[in-house]
Amino acid sequence: MVLELQKPRPIWYIMFSTHHTDIGLLYMILSLSALFMGGALALAIRLELFFPGAQIIADSMTFNRMFTVHGTTLIFLFILPFASGIGNYLVPIMIRYKDMAYPKLNAIAFWMIPPAFALVWLGFADFTWNAYAPYSVISAPGPAADMWIFGLKILGVSSILGAINFVVTILKCKHPDLPLSKAPLLAWSFLTSSLIILVAMPTFAAALLMLLTDRLGVSRFFDPAVGGDPIAYQHLFWFTFHPEVYVLVIPAIGFLYEIIPRFSRKPIFSHSSGVFAFVLLAIVSFASWAHHMYATGMSFTEKTVFMIGTLAAVPASAMHVFNFLATMWGGRIKFATPMMWAIGGIALFFSAGAGGVVNSAMPLDFISHDSYWVVGHFHLFVMGTIAFGSFGFLYYIFPYITGRMYSEKWGIAHFVLSFVGAVMVFFTQHVLGLYGMPRRVFDYPPIPEWIAMNQFITIGAMLLGIGAAIFLVNIIYSSAKGKPANMDDPWGLGGKYYYPYEAKNPHHSH
């Protein structure tokens, strides 16, 4: 167990450690830093859009760079590393092994992220997190774009190394008494999401190289003047990043599978249906990438195929929701902070999924595509589902990491502000999209409905910001000064927290 503040060690002991809990801690500190940096950009973007015309941001290029870095940071430097952090803490414990399969590789995968973080932030590119060709080739300014490409390249390699480590740890190092089918669903979520990474990520790695050589002028992959095709980039990009959506959401579903039975004081309704739904999601995640591209001039047949592929992902997601609700049904639920986040996350996951069905229907996509509807839609996933699950799990694992309790009152305040804020921001963004406001705009015409909705959204975003500030103070204060947790059962749920097989960090033995 990592009780850093009770048994302090010099910081470099943690930095140069290869132990899974130390690397897990590093991942989580990095990912939470990225959360606050990316979140600050979001607040600046929302303040800028409070009125039409320029407000706090000097020019459109600065604005464009800000939303690009906002997206890149929160996807690649918050969500993914946060999941890796939790996975590092718990996967070896859950499959009853002393560490990850390759501890040094694990440390390398983590230490590739800070340089990539620096490249993304020091470059501050402007071509959106999609980096669509040919804009990213012929129009995106200067070293910023190249730094982004190198940064993402490094993050991709880090992600592949991490995925190999999780797959090998779970398949080859699990305790012989533990059949794979009985492994906890959180471990299953890391197995399936890691397998998706291994299949999906190399395509984007290739696309990045092609972008780079195109930018250097030594190739013309995406230049139609010599027979290249800019749409090819979009296929390569989304072949990686639609499955990547599931890489982001599957660990969050795993978090919910850990929280919900614990706080409902009931076993999971169906372990096997959870496993089945994870595997099904991993497979169908590869059948829907071009639903991002209906408006690029795809034929009717192509669109039909990808609509069917997209709809096919819904039953598996619906099985998870059913499993959560059936687990809660008839349970003695304790509405502590982690459970509140989990319940909020399920509600927003369901809303996001319903919106996704609307997007996938071809004629309706031509209303919602590239409008604020889409912004609201995917934020319901990344914020409403994934970040909610992550916050819930952070509160859940907090006593395990620090040996202390967070403030329950402020944890609930964080949840309430975030839930109200998320509903205000992301539901309103759907409506704003139906009114026709395009995404990624620095300024908008003074249409009264647009102004009113933008102001409502900005107020919601401020609630999210206040919640995040409360969260920051709560975790910093509580990790140093919080009440010592009852490590057997921090929430008084009955039954033993966490697992009988505890992590044994050799640095803590003396």
């Binding site: 464009n64 249906s273 069905v357 990624r440 300024d443």
Partner: protein, 142 residues
């Protein structure tokens, strides 16, 4: 699978699948109709470039940033771009098609209301993307 019964889950999955099939079938049928361009549609060539729209009518007249059309006449847009990807959008008529360099994408509509409607770009295209706007003027011939 522990001792409890699973039939509620099967019913629930059945309902979800039925809903999806319905949405998919409706979408397929509607899109099939929407994509059928009328034979008598007049062609307008739409060209996006950083950061304005150019329209060329069948008779060769060109307009920049403004598009004048007649009420009740079907129009077929041939959308392309000379630099980066844009997206040609008249939101009030659900006209949305990416302008991709090296490709000509087809989208059509029939204006049924007189008046002025905003034209905008819906795909990020750089510095002035937010203001890559134009106006559609629908006029009554009679």
């Amino acid at each position: 699978m522990s001792g409890h019964s699973h039939w509620p889950e099967w019913i629930y999955i059945g309902v979800v699948v039925a809903l999806l099939v319905w949405v998919g079938a409706e979408a397929w049928n509607l899109e099939r109709l929407v994509e059928h361009v009328p034979e008598d549609a007049k062609v307008i060539k739409v060209t996006g470039q950083q950061w304005f729209w150019t329209f060329e009518h069948e008779d060769g007249t060109k307009e920049v940033g403004e598009l004048h059309v007649k009420k009740g006449v079907p129009y077929k847009f041939e959308v392309t771009s000379t630099d980066v990807i844009h997206s040609f959008n008249i939101h009030d008529y659900v006209v949305l098609m990416d302008a991709v360099p090296g490709r000509i994408n087809i989208v059509w509509f029939v204006p049924f209301d007189e008046g002025e409607f905003p034209i905008q770009c819906r795909e990020y295209c750089g510095l002035i993307h937010y203001n890559m706007r134009g106006t559609l003027y629908v006029e009554d011939d009679a």
